[in-house]
Symmetry: D5
Subunit: 154 residues, 10 copies
């Protein structure tokens, strides 16, 4: 009865297509992002299946990378944001986890002091990564910005 | 024999002193930070026992808050950075954890693309939190900057 | 040196005061809530230290329950929302955890279908618990309402 | 000997069939639910394999979506309700987990106050998700209702 | 300010009182249960703070054991059923955990076969432990009975 | 070299065969159990690969269900009793886990009181599930019986 | 009301008494065991609160160590065998955990081969630790013996 | 490109070969062990891929079981000793885990008393399982012996 | 649609190629390392997909082992350093985990004493394993060296 | 009865004494180590209660630091090596954990290649930390040496 079961294209499949096409075309993520008029962070994240492209951006991406139309539909679907490692092991990602562990209470205290009882949204949110030249060695700069959300008291 | 055991002032004790003094003096973290010439993020973090103040800053803090000299010594000691919650539950901190979970692989990919095979240091690192006015609601801006560290190949 | 360390009144202490006063006065949570003009859910939650009362409500509560002025200050502070049990064991709470586990993907799919790619806010949020008479046995009705937050694409 | 082992159609297979058929037919979950005379929450949940359709509803669904008769049988079987993530990572689902963590003790206290020593059933249970227009941004309303179950004392 | 905080008698305290009184009086749990007209399982469980005694039974227990009136009030309160060990280590308790792990799917299948799509309630529930003489060694008999709850389809 | 590796029939394979045969023959577990002269609990459990059938019962089962002789051998092998979920999520199974968590210390105390310092065996053990008619709704009755095992003191 | 709560002597307290008395008297565990006519393994384990001494042995121990009569009662009570570390960290204990992890399936296979479908009891069980001289370095010999328990088929 | 990837015979594959051959030849583990002149514990363990056979023993085993030469090479490789279950669920293995949990501190104390500050090696280690006839039921005897290793003080 | 999805060569595939080629050529890791002019630790680690070879070293390795050009590209990519076991079970690896657990606070204290408030980099890092002859048995010597990184105070 | 329970000096108490004395005397760990003729790693570790001092070294330490004789006895006792964090959070310790996670399989492979099927002992073990001057920033050098232990085949 396995025959009855249709073959569905999902975000994981499209990620594989993108990785192969990007390699073949020799494009950087920043170049792909620029061609479709979005930021590198959002572009990479949506290519990895962790965000949904606006439909016209999904189409633009498929044109840039030579992907079929079905892929564009998939790229515009709401993703299921699953991450498996509660504590990430890759050092490059772990350092950000460590920053949250060490500075989390500080971020909280300063947001409360400056804004009131609330949080930074991780939904109405954007982020960038840039290179900052420095005489003692260039620095990675990560900027996050999220809408302040005040707790409701009812 | 409990009598034999001396009473040691530790970072946790000094944090309690600071919280009490700050409340009494009605000072904001940003004001304390300004008075001792350091950033609010570092100041709060070191007051919470998650960073070591440079000795002269530790003394300055004790003067600002009216703490005894023993406290300054403790504030300048290397801390033991322990955080108990593998996954933080406070919503304000959790959102940052979520950002790392969702965007971690993206941060990694863009650092690799821009810099090479390496990471952002969480040691030679600084961070700020600022309020960005916005017509649809002000935004929390978090800026992190860490030295790029290239993996060694030997 | 333990002598140096001041005694700080915290949310946990105030919760104990509230529980004792409420028992002595024989008040229901719904009555306390009504007296201070807030909902029972928010009132109980803030009394347990999981929400911050608006300052005037904190004062009103202290008057109703005969608590000292220091307690009002503490009740108005931003709380640190810590819950220790990753999976709650009390059956009354576990059933809600189970609902989230079983119906979580359904809630997500229907929110996406009705609103777009986004979530229900747990910050700009309110909730009520009511009793609904029913011939086969009364029912517990829980209503949650949170602002829809659309993911940003940037 | 792999040849000896028969090919069994299970709930996971039927979910794939439903997803493919729904995409092809361009139907919303709310539309499918209406066509078979059930609620959207229950319909989606049972299509995902987390609930059992009453047999006649299972048949109706298969007719609406053009699925074979074997699928109807499978849809009417008691499901094995397995959810893998103890703490869900998708933000849309996590927010509900957070609500249970933060407000769980409050739900418990108010149920005890209003009903007695007991719980809300998660079995004799129903739920709905609706959109509530609001000038500051529409709201997601989730209503749960479960039979009150009193603890037995024997 | 610790002085401000009242001293509340809680279920844990009353459990200690009960254990001391029972030892002093040389009573078995079964005898205490009989004296107050309840089952040994419920009596022990409520004495341990895992169930709420009906008020008159709480009073009866306090009389039997010579506990003060405050204890009766506490014994009649809804308990917070917290168990710390996800997997119990005591062999006597672990064996029951093992039974659930090994026979859980079987219990589920036979309940579904005999009753339909539903569960055994753990709330409208009772249990007994008895000794069954046996030539090859006496046996422990545990009988559980819970109301069958049918899943709602709506 | 995959070619070198023989194809072994294991308990998981035989479970699939049994499920398919049972469906085709329209037999209930209780009927299968009766035909081979064993209890429904043991029969289902051994069919799921969690117990070993006595060889003649394994053969009887294969005859009843029309399975090949190799299956009988597999059914009589000692199983590896693996259960993956430390805390089961299916509500029907979870309720039994909850019972163990809530009443575990009570079961232990009453066994100690009645028998001495020992446990109920989960090996020399049997169990049944029956339906008990009740005016307020039928009840699920689960009876477990295990040999009392006294701790050795040496 | 803390005054109301009696002071109960428990196994943990008695363990502290034993450790102090043993140190003062300069006795080895093996000597204590010999004096009361039990094995060193059982003696140490029961002194640590992980087993119950037979009443007369509890009294003998208290005489040997000069402990009060209340201690003997406590030593004869059924213990609650709680061990906190799921994976022990002390190297001396971890090595035994490792042996179980590495050789567990082998122990199981050889027990099945030699005895049938069953297990070694950990209740009707005894153990010894002895020193075996060896030219390349003395060896630790651990002997465990438990009654074979055959699975019931019913 | 999957074509490029060679097919490597690993320990898991060889274990499958051994299980099939052993079944076909109707040999017990003890018989296989005897034919190659090794102990049953080591033989089974190495056949399961948890130990490395000395090369000549690996060859002998392949001759006894009729396995190809490649298998002998694999059997002599250093294994990767991975066990997935932190807490084993199979009752036969769990009982040994329980023994370590309950008696671990006792084993440690007696080793320290008899040998000094050190441990039993789990590397220079051997083990046997034997059947000990007993009037009240035969017993499983497990003997472990490991070289005593003294902690270095430097 | 599976047809649409391209076949990507990844690090795991190349590791399989390397293992097969190394076996066929009968080369030791130290020999391979020497042929490409890198250390054995780095060479093995990068062959396992846990480090990125400098491009020319990747090519050299492919020549030494007779691997295709695509493999060299893959070997030079930044790896995703994932390790699945939070606590490693293989004894050879566990011992290092144990060393970190037991001596971690000591390493920290001595680094702070000798260098200041900072850490040893695990990125600008190298390591070697050597055999040190010793009359009582040869010793494994592991040398790690990482750049000292001073915490930033800002 | 709390009065009955003697007050025992344990390793934790002595660690507090040492920390206080060291602070008062202004001694570095390396200086203390030198004064008693042991290595800084072992000295610190034993002062923290993670190793046992040889008796004469324990006495020497107490003289150097002015501690009472009881402390020397405690310092010479076999410690219980407990570490609470399965994954350490302090960055200085975490980096070593990361090294084990990333390079663990490499350490294993190279030990097997160079020595045979065995491990590095963590018991017959020593370690040092030194500062290595380097033009681009000084380096932390950690050297571990443990006796090679060959797996027994029996």
């Amino acid at each position: 009865m396995t025959m009855m079961i249709p073959d569905i294209l999902d975000k994981e499949d499209v990620t594989v297509m993108i990785i192969a096409a990007r390699k073949k075309l020799g494009l950087k993520w920043a170049e792909i992002a620029e061609k479709i008029g979005m930021s590198p962070v959002f572009t990479h994240s949506a290519c990895m299946g962790m965000n949904a492209f606006p439909p016209e951006k999904a189409k633009a991406l498929c044109e840039v990378l030579g992907l079929p139309g079905e892929a564009a539909e998939v790229l515009a679907e709401s993703p299921n944001k699953v991450f498996d490692q509660t504590v990430p092991t890759d050092p490059c990602i772990y350092r950000f986890y460590e920053v949250v562990g060490v500075y989390g209470p500080t971020l909280k205290a300063l947001i409360h002091e400056e804004f009131g009882d609330g949080i930074m949204s991780a939904i109405d949110f954007d982020m960038s990564v840039t290179r900052v030249p420095h005489p003692k060695g260039d620095r990675v700069k990560v900027e996050m910005s999220g809408k302040y959300l005040q707790y409701n008291a009812w």
